[in-house]
């Protein structure tokens, strides 16, 4: 929904040209390679962190009328950045999607995973001095499960009617269906713990939090001023203040950074990051993992209801060329499976490559030679239009004509993605458990490939409930192998979305967008 924010105006709009020019330009330039971090730490400030100062960070945001402070409804990048610096979750994702305990000290399931005991870390206080108790957690769960809030989807498996408090710091959480991986549910985007009674979140109330910073001022759609929380349970932050400034347009965001109006800029375009990488005053921060870049085919709609057509399409994409030309090297190739590097990801399958001859043969077998398909596309996220242009180019070698239709970006992901036979799909990084529950079962709300196989569903239920890690791994690998052979995703790449900071900024975490380390300033300092 904040897709519009990433569109550059007028002349800044690269659209088609980058895709075409990128191919020729990139061959003459040194590539950053798979990781791209090798140049980054060289210019970071050395020595012990300095205390004090105000960090100014620019990030994509929303308009003043639609911006919200409530961490259970704030869906924009800027809203998420404010929430994670002010409040904490029970559990947070690391960059590789393994969970780490935050406000929770332990999570213990019963035998079947039907009930989970959440034990809170003792001694945590909110910024107003009140201690964190199980009542705050129950209050937060009740707020999140309000069906009119987007957070309700994240916690859908929690059965509130049977959930109860057990002492000051313990909570027994009941599940609608047995859940073996409750930790990754609690690490969801919206799952912040707010103080009992916090219900109005605006510039007059500025509710307390347990995070590294507290709210000092909030100007919707414009900026948020945070102050260090000296009572933070995880050690006090180094910075006195953080100002999170919202600038919707990518070009303007980078201009503000270049003109010295900000110390940190988030959500760069790949080309901007490449240009900034040669600036000695700037450090480009590349996260260790990427976000999926993919097309999805509806397996229940011609021509993709024939598995041979789906396989041909997957072989007709030159993945490395996409990473090099569209992401300027800030990425790595995908193998048609979600969650590279995440727990239970199946990395034993062979890497699918570019094989137009084999694709052509598969199409001939299916009687669909010289296939023509339509791909609705939009400037909905960085690299989207460019990747579509390039994929259409690659597919020609396999005799496939991909007709690009440009449609409005602001409703692409709510209206077009998953309804057209062939469309773009983009998810941020979640556990496989959450992702497949949302996208691949017969009853998934966002099943954009029309993948409905009762046996697959049953196996997924078993995997979800399997308390033995070895059994879960085996089941997840089987599930992914089936998707790798027959599924509807052409998951061609993982894009590492770069940020940039001045060389005077130390202690920046290299976070994947959407995780808790991204735009988290708890360890940041100014030299």
């Amino acid at each position: 929904m904040d897709n519009f924010t990433r569109r550059a105006p007028g002349i800044g709009r690269r659209g088609f040209l980058t895709g075409a020019l990128g191919l020729t330009a990139v061959t003459g330039l040194p590539l950053l390679g798979g990781c791209g971090t090798e140049h980054a730490p060289a210019s970071a400030p050395q020595g012990p962190p300095r205390i004090g100062g105000r960090l100014r960070s620019v990030i994509a945001g929303r308009s003043a009328s639609s911006d919200v402070l409530d961490p259970h409804t704030a869906g924009s990048s800027a809203g998420g950045a404010v929430a994670k610096n002010v409040w904490d979750k029970l559990v947070a994702y690391n960059n590789d999607l393994t969970p780490r305990y935050r406000l929770a000290r332990a999570l213990e399931p019963d035998q079947e995973g039907g009930e989970w005991r959440v034990s809170l870390r003792p001694g945590v206080v909110f910024s107003d001095g009140s201690p964190l108790t199980a009542r705050d957690v129950l209050w937060s769960f009740e707020r999140m499960l309000d069906p009119a809030k987007p957070s309700a989807g994240d916690l859908a498996m929690v059965d509130l009617s049977r959930t109860r408090i057990d002492g000051e710091l313990d909570l027994i959480v009941a599940m609608h269906t047995p859940t073996a991986d409750f930790a990754s549910v609690l690490a969801g985007w919206y799952c912040y713990i707010v103080a009992e009674g916090s219900d109005t979140f605006d510039e007059r109330t500025l509710p307390p939090g347990t995070g590294a910073f507290t709210l000092a001022d909030w100007s919707p759609g414009d900026r948020t001023l945070l102050r260090r929380n000296d009572t933070h349970w995880d050690g006090a932050a180094h910075l006195d203040e953080v100002e999170i400034i919202q600038i919707a347009e990518t070009e303007a965001r980078v201009n503000a950074f270049l003109a010295g109006q900000a110390d940190v800029v988030h959500e760069l375009s790949y080309l901007q990051a490449r240009t900034l990488a040669s600036d000695p005053e700037v450090r480009v921060i590349v996260p260790p993992a990427g976000l999926m870049g993919a097309l999805q085919m509806r397996v229940d709609t011609p021509p993709f209801d024939d598995v041979r057509v789906r396989r041909a399409m997957r072989l007709a994409v030159d993945r490395q060329a996409l990473v090099d030309a569209v992401y300027y090297g800030f990425g790595e190739v995908g193998n048609d499976l979600y969650g590279k590097g995440a727990p239970f990801y199946n990395d034993t399958l062979p890497q699918r490559g570019y094989d137009p001859e084999r694709a052509r043969a598969l199409l001939r077998e299916a009687g669909k030679e010289n296939l023509t398909v339509a791909l609705p596309t939009a400037d909905g996220m960085p690299g989207m239009l460019e990747s579509a242009t390039l994929i259409a180019e690659h597919a020609k070698a396999a005799g496939i004509t991909i007709e690009l239709e440009t449609v409005p970006a602001d409703t692409y992901f709510s209206k077009v993605s998953g309804t057209a036979p062939l469309s773009h799909v983009g998810w941020w990084n979640y556990s496989l458990d959450y992702f497949y529950g949302q996208t691949m079962t017969s009853s998934s709300p966002s099943n954009g490939t029309g993948w409905r196989r009762p046996e697959w569903d049953a196996k997924f239920e078993r995997a979800r409930a399997a308390m033995d890690p070895a059994e879960r791994t085996a089941l997840y690998h089987e599930l992914q192998e089936e998707l790798w052979h027959d599924g509807g995703y052409i998951l061609h790449s993982f894009a590492k979305r770069p940020d940039a900071a001045r060389v005077t900024v130390g202690g920046m975490r290299e976070g994947v967008p959407g995780t808790d380390d991204w735009a988290n300033y708890a360890t940041t300092w100014l030299a």
């Binding site: 929904m1 519009f4 919200v68 009119a148 759609g221 400034i245 109006q261 959407g514």
Partner: protein, 324 residues
Amino acid sequence: MARYLLRRLTAAACVLCVVAVTVFALFELLDSDAAEVALSRYGAGTPTPEQLAALRAELGLDRPAPIRFLDWAGDVVRGDLGRSLVSGRPVSDVLFDRLGNSAVLAAVTLALLIPLAIGLGLLAGSRPGSWLDRVVSAAAPAVESVPPFVTGVLSVAVVALSLRLLPAVSLVPRGASVWHSPEVLVLPVACLLLGAAPHPIRMVRAQCAQVIDAPYIRTARLNGVRGARLLVRHVAPNALSAAVHPLAGAVVGLVGGIAVVETLFVYPGVSAEIIGAIVARDFPFVQSAAVVLAAFGLAVHLAADLLALWLSPPARAIVTGERS
């Protein structure tokens, strides 16, 4: 004259009604609503039908379109512009705050545009073929043909990023008005002037060049009137009545130009808000903003008509002679 005014005001009210209904109807044609946008987050799939139904009920979006429109219209008539569907904030809080900033941008631009257009136009037109006329006549269409976003991008690159003379984006500290950091106004105003000035300059120049050849000016000259006195007392009144409407058009056109410039410089004005509200399907905000902006456009044109009547006795005679 009173009847003329009354007639114009009634017509303006009708236009506002048409604007409101049209914007609402166009909004209804959009393919999603505020509930869907509020519940969807980029990179996280789509909401369930139950969630959508719950939020629609809470926001009143499950009611039929005519009821929603009348509900909004009734509030507006009572002076309440409604609340944002996404954040629940009163529309008037956000709108007038941002509108104020846009108004400052427009006012500063106008304060420079009007003297610039009239001055350059009169100077060039009073001596057709002089070097000044040639420069103005050549430069005006050249500048006019460059879109404001090009001049904007170039001025940011040169003035802000290379020379570091002015800020690249117009960030205004919270709670302060743009007057407290006037440097943020320089590039946006310059950009707007380059876009808006050439057309009225050319109109004033053309009209002035015509008037300067008129028999009564020759008579005045023969009677020894010359220089500034001739220009101000004899040429200007006739040349300017023709310039009032191009200038009024430039004022209304500023609304569009401001949208581009505000986006480019991240100026805290009203246009980014409206775009954001359209994307968020926040119809109370879009509706109210559209009506307020349309009212502004109508007021400017009415003011221009009244000014033209005041400057031109024959036109005044037609209106008052026939109607009152």
